[in-house]
Subunit: 416 residues, 2 copies
């Protein structure tokens, strides 16, 4: 069963908005056995949208459309859908009722005609009620093909997808089971890893696909398979994993969680062992803390963090001795270690991690070469630090710093 995702909006094509919806939809569809054949982003333009519908219908069974459902004039998706289905727009009273409820609760202004018009839907469409927003989702059958239109606002789209779309798709189609298992491998470049596992890879059964996904200092090795017998698929993939693991014994780190979040591995383990974490960040600037706090449940294990960006703040807030900074420079193992130890004390946590480095483009407060990063980990009874050079591109240095910090943290926490 194949799907195509069509995202509509000039804002995508001028680069004002990054399309995060498609990846989310693709991931959720994959879990139920629907492959995404293609993702197509098109303009707010009727003839372009119609062409995209036609092309997609010729290629796949399920067409998911997002975007273009707001109340204003640049939104033409609904009228274009009606035209594509030789249909007319009619008012849906339940949608109008929902709009009124949202309006009373959040806007408290007079309902305008454009808002009332949001209750217009193609007469052939089944409404997917969107309780979080005024634009309804729509489901249109065309024989064995299905068109689904969802609002572009990410949390509205996500909620409709989980609560309405996935259950209805499972009702209509009989899906194969798709399994992805992703192995995290540290310390091997893409080509070295490929050479190491070449004979295993060459012997992989045809229906098990392998992909190398490099990501700043780590590799993800993804095995994918699909079929109607879930147990068989699981066993076959496990069998291949059992074969490859001995080849990467030292470098294999673990499995990626379902959503690909490495911090989730740390979060889950900390929650499981009932320990807490504090974070002191200089060059990573809050990105580590933000990764953890973006997910629910962070209050279970995260005490908090300090973004000690300016040198003086390392002294004022983290009590790093000024003399230590003068002697070793603010980008040094000594300062990183002091930051980790002190943030551990400040937050009374079980683990602490600290980063200090120079992400560039200029040298800033230290004389350290651009790209130099020190990462230290402290626990009640010890502190240790590693030095890295992540090259001369700011974004890369920050991201590699975050990845490496997560790696060190994982290694330390899993000892417990």
């Amino acid at each position: 069963m194949q799907c195509e995702i069509i995202t509509i909006g000039d804002e995508l094509l001028i680069g004002q908005v990054v399309d995060t919806n498609s990846a989310y939809i693709a991931k959720q569809l994959n879990k139920i056995g629907v492959s995404v054949y293609q993702i197509t982003s098109v303009q707010d333009d009727k003839s372009h949208i119609l062409q995209a519908f036609k092309d997609a219908e010729s290629r796949v069974d399920i067409i998911i459309i997002t975007g273009g459902l707001g109340p204003t004039k640049d939104d033409i998706t609904k009228r274009t859908i009606a035209e594509y289905f030789n249909d007319v727009l009619v008012r849906d009273e339940a949608v109008l009722e929902n709009i009124k409820i949202l309006w009373d609760k959040y806007i408290r202004q007079k309902l305008l005609q454009v808002n009332i018009d949001q209750a217009l839907v193609p007469s052939k469409a089944k409404v997917l009620m969107n309780k979080l927003g005024t634009a309804p989702g729509m489901w249109l059958d065309k024989g064995n093909k299905t068109f689904i239109s969802l609002p572009g606002v990410p949390y509205e789209m996500r909620t409709l997808l989980s609560n309405k779309v996935i259950p209805k798709l499972k009702e209509k189609y009989h899906f194969p089971f798709i399994l992805h298992r992703t192995l995290i491998v540290y310390g091997l470049g893409e080509s070295t890893l490929a050479a190491r596992i070449e004979s295993w890879e060459d012997a992989l059964p045809k229906h098990i696909k392998l992909a190398y996904l490099p990501n700043l200092g780590k590799m993800r090795l993804r095995l994918s398979a699909k079929g109607f017998d879930e147990n068989q698929i699981r066993n076959e993939v496990q069998e291949q994993i059992d074969k490859v693991l001995p080849l990467i014994e030292k470098e294999f780190f673990g499995y990626e969680d379902e959503d690909g979040n490495e911090e989730a591995v740390v979060a889950n383990q900390l929650t499981k062992i009932g320990k807490t974490l504090a974070i002191a960040e200089s060059c990573t600037g809050g990105k580590l803390a933000q990764l953890f706090t973006s997910k629910p449940g962070a209050s279970q294990y995260l005490k908090g963090g300090v973004v000690a960006y300016a040198t003086q703040s390392k002294i004022d807030v983290l009590n790093v001795p000024e003399q230590l900074i003068n002697e070793h420079s603010v980008v040094s193992a000594e300062v990183a270690s002091a930051m980790a130890k002190n943030v551990l004390k400040l937050y009374k946590s079980d683990f602490a991690i600290a980063t200090t480095g120079n992400a560039g483009p200029t040298k800033g407060d230290s004389n350290a070469e651009v790209g130099t990063v020190f990462i230290a980990i402290a626990t009640a009874d010890k502190v240790f630090c590693e030095e890295f050079n992540f090259g001369n591109h700011r974004e890369k240095v920050i991201n590699k710093g975050v990845n490496k910090a997560l790696e060190m943290l994982q290694k330390e926490i899993f000892k417990n």
Copy 2:
């Protein structure tokens, strides 16, 4: 002049990776007057890629391809390009030399055949040397059409795009000038705004396009125009802005910066007036700090921040009196104000901002309703706080909190 972006990779279609490259490329191309007609993400599959090339060539003049250029077996882009151009792959000695240099510097292992093979390029291609990585960019002319293939690693792609692709495109084509001006409007819903400016919008000249871009609590109103006479375009758009501003006088906040980053407005102003900022975050969890530190130059104005996630850390690190928390709850105006005042003192900054709230999904340490957020701003001589409810979706609450904090901060800082 129109372009199509083709991004290649199974990882995009299973949702493991969000395609951020396309938005970046689109934004850069727009600046030189190239419109992106469509963005298409396809699988690592020869026939699918060939079809996408063919379709794109029939629609546009410039085809930019990213992804599928790594050293391992799942990468077939280069061979497919050679096939599409009836070409053969030949070794490029300069590319091989670059690979050897990178290898010696960063990998320090034996060069493998797969790495040597990265120096293979279609004989008809002009190489765009990628000094940051081993996969070269490629430029292929086909009459007046151009195919450009770039590596998928974002910072490699970005560097090649700026340094090689844009200059070469400007040499080959004569581009019109494209202007986007984006007005930030606070406090009006999409439909209320649309009704307010309806007669102005209806009278817009045909070649000036208007788009409404809602984003959690604020609206962006984008005017776009293109033509060969830059001055004329600028004047015409300015004329329309001068007409619309009186209609939204109270709600108009300012213009979005070129890259759409609202924090850049705060950052630039702070740098300009030589003042500093400190941040205390509870529910926004480091996201505010991370927004500022992700860009170079943050050390000019950002002293740092505290992520006081656990209640106890507000007491231990930010010296919020325990009694205040007991009396008013941890999610309260009193606590937010104390956090802002104390982080100002701690970091000795000129401005401070603090967030405390309940992002959900559960009530956590406070009894505040999910979605309740208090945001406080402190300066040397005052502190004030506002209360919000951002609904019951965690991601939305955090993002709205960040947006609202930036809005309050902008308003306060621009008074100076």
